[in-house]
Each structure stands twice: as structure tokens, then as C-alpha cells.
Amino acid sequence: MFNHVLLASHGTTGAKAAENMAISTCTKGGSLTHLFVVPEFWQGMTGDDWLNNGSTRDQFRQYLETELGKEVDEHCARVSRAAKQQELHYNKAITLGEPEKVLIQYSKTQNFDLIIMGSPRPKSVEGLRSKMLTKNLTHCLPIPLLIAPYPR
């Protein structure tokens, strides 16, 4: 069992399995830090739009930000509820960036005992393309990494 677990997620289906594993792996009374990375590809979602007025683009950006915010909040609230049921101290950190780089950086900011994350989505399953688990990640992490199997 581990006292301070870092749960890394960016809202994918695989991350849900990691949530359950993190909660069951963390010692009662221990700390669960939830790092939620919003992938930076969302910043490029206005693409090469040039026909719209600035107000339309602003409205789109605000709408997208709000919708993503709602999804992140729902996700964090679910993990928070489950963590509290297990008497864990729940903290969250929400960051925008490249999932792999953010995780490497964040893992060095506190004394975590273990990092838990979900496994990549199988090719046959639809979903957004944003890898967190990369070769570089496994080389750079300073602490053990546990990968939860993809939910079947």
C-alpha cells in the first residue's frame, strides 16, 4: 500500500480504470493527488478559421472552455467522492499541456510513492488521440509507475 499516490488522467476511458486502482492502492488516510491534463491540441481547435468575426471566435472559445471545464469538473467530482468514501485526502491539479511532459514535471514537485495511470485505448475503440503513456515517460519518471488495464 502507498501513502501518497499520484493519479494521472486526461479524461479517457482508460483513466477510469486507473481511478479505481488508485483508490484501492492508496492507504486509508493517505493522499490521492489527481493530476488532470487538458491536452494542448484543444488550443488549435479554431484551426485556420478566418471568415468569422472576432466575437464569433470568442464565443466558440468560451463555449469550448466551458464544456471542457464541465467534463473536467464531473470527472474530478467522481474521483473525489470515491476517494472520500475510502477516507483518502483528495487533491486535484488541472493543467493544460502535453500530457506526457506535464506528468513528468508534476511528478517531481512532491514526494509521491507511486504514479497510476490508465492504459492506452485499443485501436478498435473510438476516442481522441492524445498519448500520455510514451517511451519517454517511462524513461523519465523518478518514481514507480503502475498502469491499470484497459476496462473490458
Partner: protein, 526 residues
């Protein structure tokens, strides 16, 4: 927040531009230019000796101030910070237009012409400064990332395209605008409404959510990413649906920008036909302009046709947003009312008013005589630019008189008679007849030369319109390189799910059907 970054980047950009100007002025890069000209005259010498000097000076001055000056929050800081990004795009555009694209042309020419196409590989693939500029932009954003100091300016590249469209308004004749406008309303009306309807129909059959159907139909039907951005909040699309749709549109758009000019070249399409096809068949509006300039890099006739189609699309956009808003409310069983007025006002493309204003000003003769055609006009008086020394000389009139009996048509003989009596061409109709005689080569080569000189002496180019053409070329090149810098592989990679399947079907059908319609129904000129 202070937007201006204290870096020497802009100063260095300015120095590079000034170095280009200095090296050209002193002839130090003459061997390089000779190599790029491949035995002909290097075509951009005029630009090399002016543009880098003007913009290099501005960039150097602002560069020193950005680097060493004190910056405070405010509107001035926000707008002046964009100069760095703007100059960054401009430098890339200069390098690609003056050096990289000509080098690709030299390499392409060295392979010889491809089969019986009569074209070199770079011409066939449309590898000119426009396409290469967009590709360079895409490479920069995805491989190196846009530097922080340039981000604000890169976002401003849209302004370049909009200004280009506004200036373009000065180049159309009333007849062109009427004919192209009518054609584009027919084509866009049919294909836009058709694609929106088909996407909604397929979506219903495949049981996709209404929000996804709404956003996808706008993106695939109207003007790609711009329509998706406008419609997504109205139909309450989920982030994943937006990502799928925009990814699919961007991949299609970039692929079409390369494929359309190749197909157009292989089919030998006219500028009008290609402009109409690109304006209808390419999903994303930015790539319509890109493909048009890729097809005709040294002229703007194709762009003029394609942009009329783009303008028609963007004018239809508020209508489609309204339609989809009402459709969504009905399908979802909501009771909220759609505010027609606010939707139309919010989505109306203001820059189109600028285009209309420029066209209206152009018809008053403020830029060129009202009867000009793309900046060229007829004028046989001194006030209109005719030079008295161009009047026919006695020996020239004698030669024309002696050969007049070779012509059988009486009306053409009358034209020559008027030319002989007045020493110059007297009307546009006479000028057209003289051009016909020149092309027919009925008279001797000497007489034909006299007629050619007489024709040229009454045909003038409006300097303002010529300047507009130069500016339009640069504004579009600048804007497209900047837009290339906003196409991320990360967003393209999100293409997937139902949008990829439906988008693939609709995108292909639209491109193929519009090609058939254009080849069968659109004449080679307007």
C-alpha cells in the same frame, strides 16, 4: 498582462530583411538570383529592392523598442506586440517566394516535362510559393512551435486575408460580379444546402446525436472550420464532436489544397472553371484561397473567381446557423426561441461590406476609369494616358491604306479608314476589331506591327489597380502562411468517429459532383 516580449527576435528579423535588400542592391547575390532565374530574367528583382528595405526598417526600429524599451499593459502594447509575429510571417513569405519556390522550380525543371502534360513536376504538383508557404507554416507550428513573441502576430494573419478580399473588390467589373455572383449562388446554393441536408439525413440513419449532426453538417456543407466554429455553440456540440469534425475538415482541406491543382492541371481547366470548382468542392474556406493561388501563382484571376464563391459561402453562413439552430431546438424538443436578428447580426461577415464598398468605389472611376477591366482600360485622349507621339506617322498610314483592300469585310475596312484618318484607334469597338485583324494575320508583318503599336497605345494599366494586385498577392500569401501556422497536427489527428466516415463520403461526393457540373456547365470565361 504585458504582451510585448523583451527579445531581440524582431530586431534580428529586421536585420535579415535589410541584409536581403543590401545584398541585392550591391549585386552580391546576383549569382544566386541568376541561378534561380534559370536562364531567364529573375522576376522578383523589383520586390527585392524595395519590400525588404521598407519592412526591414520598420522591423528593426520596432525590434529595438521591443527589446530594450519599457512596456506597459494597454491597447498599444497589445497591438504593437503583434508586429513581431507579423514580421515573422512576412519574412517566411519573402524567403519562400523569392528563394525557396524558385529553387524548387529549378529542381523541377531539371527533371524535364512530365509525359504529355506539357508541364514540369513542380507545376503539376502546384509547388509554388503559396503552397510551400502554407506547408512551411504547418511545419513551423508542428515541429518548432510558434515562439511566444510571435503568437499574437500570427493570430493577426486573418486580417491579411480579409484585407486582401476587401481590396479584391476593386478588380471586378459589374458584368463579372453579376455573372460570377449568379453562378456562385446557383452552385453554392445547390451544393451547400445539398451537403447540409445529406449529412443530416445520413446522421439520422446512423443514429448520431443531433449536436454532432448539426456541427458536422455545417462544417461539411458551408465553409469548413469557420462554419464549425460558428455553429458549435448553437447546437451545443460536445468537445469530442467538435474535435472529430475539425480534425476531419482540416485533413480534407489540406489534402484538397494539394490534389485540386493537380487534377485541374491534368484536366486543363480554365481559371474560371478551376476557381468555381475549388470554391464549391473544397470543404474549408482557407484552402479555397490556397488552392486558387496554387493553381495560378502569378495572377489573381482564379483567386477572383474562388473568392466570390467564398464570399457567397460566408453570406449563406448566418442562414445555415439559423436553420440548424431551429432544427436543433425542434429535434431536442426545447422550447427556447431562436433570436433571428441577433444570430444574423452576430454572424454577418463585416469584411464583405468592405469588399462591396471597394467595388462601388471602383465603379465611380476613383481607382481607374469606370470602363476598366481588371485594371486595363481604353483611352485615346491625353487625359486618359494617350501619348501624342504614338499617333500614326504618314508612312505608316500609307502602308495601312495600301493593304486595306486585303480585308473583305466592309466594317473592318471602315475601322482601318478611321485609324488612318485620326492616326489612332477611336473606340473600344474599333480596338476590338483591330485586335481581331492582328490575330487573323491577314496583313503583312509590318502592317501588323503598326496595328499592334496602335492597339497598345490606347490600352493602359491603372497604376492604383496594379498596386492593388501586388498588395492582394502579398496579403493572401501573408495570410495563408499565417493560417498554415495555425493548423496543428494535434487537431488534425482527432479526425475520427462518425464525422470521419460521413465527412469522407460527403467530401468526396461534393468534390466529384461539383467537378462534373463545372466541366459540363461552366464556360471557360465569364
Amino acid at each position: 498582462m504585458v504582451y510585448t516580449q523583451k527579445t531581440p527576435a524582431l530586431f534580428i528579423i529586421g536585420l535579415i530583411m535589410l541584409a536581403i535588400w543590401l545584398l541585392t542592391e550591391n549585386g552580391l547575390i546576383a549569382p544566386v538570383l541568376d541561378h534561380l532565374a534559370a536562364g531567364k530574367e529573375y522576376r522578383y528583382t523589383d520586390e527585392l529592392t524595395t519590400i525588404p528595405l521598407y519592412f526591414g526598417s520598420i522591423a528593426t526600429l520596432f525590434g529595438v523598442w521591443h527589446w530594450l524599451g519599457a512596456h506597459k499593459e494597454g491597447s498599444w502594447d497589445f497591438y504593437s506586440s503583434s508586429i513581431a509575429g507579423g514580421m515573422f510571417i512576412l519574412l517566411i513569405t519573402m524567403l519562400v517566394r523569392w528563394f525557396i519556390a524558385p529553387e524548387i522550380a529549378v529542381i523541377g525543371t531539371s527533371f524535364g516535362k512530365i509525359g504529355d502534360t506539357g508541364k514540369y513536376i513542380h507545376e503539376l504538383l502546384g509547388l509554388n510559393y503559396v503552397v510551400l508557404g502554407i506547408v512551411t507554416g504547418i511545419i513551423i507550428v508542428n515541429v518548432f512551435k510558434i515562439p511566444e513573441w510571435a503568437k499574437n502576430g500570427v493570430r493577426l494573419s486573418r486580417l491579411g486575408l480579409k484585407t486582401g478580399v476587401i481590396l479584391l473588390g476593386a478588380l471586378y467589373s459589374a458584368a463579372e460580379l453579376k455573372n460570377l455572383g449568379g453562378l456562385s449562388i446557383l452552385m453554392i446554393g445547390f451544393f451547400v444546402l445539398g451537403s447540409v441536408g445529406i449529412v443530416l439525413w445520413i446522421g439520422a440513419r446512423r443514429n448520431i446525436p443531433n449536436s454532432m449532426g448539426g456541427v458536422l453538417s455545417a462544417g461539411m456543407g458551408v465553409c469548413g472550420v469557420s462554419a464549425t466554429v460558428a455553429v458549435a455553440p448553437v447546437v451545443q456540440a460536445k468537445p469530442v464532436e467538435i474535435a472529430y469534425t475539425i480534425g476531419t475538415i482540416l485533413i480534407w482541406g489540406v489534402a484538397c489544397m494539394f490534389l485540386f491543382p493537380i487534377i485541374g492541371n491534368l484536366l486543363g481547366m480554365s481559371y474560371v472553371q478551376f476557381g468555381a470548382w475549388a470554391g464549391t468542392g473544397i470543404l474549408n474556406s482557407a484552402q479555397v484561397a490556397g488552392a486558387a493561388l496554387a493553381y495560378q501563382p502569378d495572377g489573381i484571376e482564379t483567386l477572383m473567381v474562388a473568392e466570390i464563391f467564398n464570399i457567397t459561402r460566408v453570406l449563406i453562413l448566418p442562414v445555415i446557423v439559423l436553420w440548424l439552430a431551429m432544427w436543433y431546438v425542434k429535434r431536442e424538443g426545447h422550447t427556447t426561441n431562436v433570436n433571428v436578428g441577433s444570430v444574423v447580426i452576430a454572424k454577418f461577415p463585416v469584411f464583405v461590406l468592405g469588399f462591396i464598398l471597394m467595388f462601388a468605389l471602383s465603379t465611380t472611376g476613383i481607382f481607374a476609369p469606370a470602363n476598366h477591366y481588371q485594371g486595363k482600360y481604353f483611352g485615346n485622349t491625353v487625359e486618359q494616358g494617350f501619348k501624342q507621339e504614338n499617333l500614326l506617322q504618314p508612312e505608316q498610314t500609307l502602308l495601312i491604306q495600301s493593304e486595306a483592300n486585303k480585308i473583305q469585310r466592309n466594317d473592318y475596312q471602315a475601322v482601318l479608314e478611321r485609324l488612318v484618318v485620326n492616326g489612332k484607334i477611336m473606340s473600344i469597338e474599333d480596338d476590338t476589331a483591330v485586335r481581331g485583324l492582328i490575330n487573323a494575320r491577314t496583313l503583312s508583318p509590318q502592317a501588323n506591327d503598326i496595328l499592334t503599336a496602335a492597339h497598345q497605345s490606347v490600352r493602359h494599366t491603372a497604376k492604383k489597380i496594379e498596386t492593388f494586385r501586388q498588395w492582394i498577392t502579398w496579403l493572401f500569401a501573408f495570410g495563408l502562411v499565417g493560417l498554415g501556422m495555425q493548423i496543428t497536427v494535434g487537431s488534425m489527428k482527432q479526425a475520427g468517429g462518425q464525422p470521419a466516415v460521413i465527412g469522407g463520403i460527403v467530401g468526396f461526393v461534393k468534390a466529384a459532383l461539383s467537378l462534373i457540373v463545372v466541366m459540363l456547365l461552366v464556360s471557360e470565361t465569364v
